[in-house]
């Protein structure tokens, strides 16, 4: 594993809910990251935002880590949940709330 993959792995496994995003939860720099942040806030989830714009290694590393080409990426209890489309779909169907409750994080 590369250093950046190890770093990502540690973030994902040591935080219950992590959102890799462009910008920060307070100031998202992309509409998709903003939309996902809003959904998590709406559900009252405490999450850690990791700004991929701070490092090119991280920006590429997170895409390689899960073989997922886009950002944002949501991880809950070490598992990749999806990007903004999947999070939106799961939110609308109520699945996201249920999943977060099942995992004991909201």
């Amino acid at each position: 594993m590369t250093d950046i993959a190890k770093w990502i792995d540690n973030e994902v496994k040591s935080n219950d809910v992590v959102l890799f995003m462009k910008g920060t939860p307070e100031a998202p720099m992309c509409g998709f990251s903003g939309r996902t942040t809003q959904i998590l806030n709406h559900l009252g989830v405490t999450f850690k935002g990791v700004n991929v714009l701070e490092s090119n290694d991280l920006r590429q590393g997170i895409k390689d880590y899960t073989n997922w080409p886009t950002i944002p990426q949501l991880y809950v209890k070490g598992e990749f949940v999806g990007g903004s489309d999947i999070v939106m779909e799961m939110f609308q169907s109520g699945e996201l709330k249920q999943m977060l409750a099942d995992k004991g994080v909201a």
């Binding site: 895409k63 886009t70 949940v81 999806g82 903004s84 489309d85 999947i86």
Partner: protein, 80 residues
Amino acid sequence: MAMSAADIERFIKEALPDAVVDIRDLAGDGDHYAANVVSAAFKGKSRVQQHQMVYSALKGRMGGELHALALQTSIPQEQP
């Protein structure tokens, strides 16, 4: 460089020949699309896996020359 909707559809159908693909150009700029992809190949796969199948059909263009593709995937309805 932007991609045309026809290119996106062609790449998806090369990888998923049975797919029914519906693409909308959201901003009219050839850079922001929404695609609805229906294929029996998605059966038994999680949403993440279904999206990964579409991304892999696009052969690395997603996140590169294709900036935004809002994706919805589903399995064809069973005929009664």
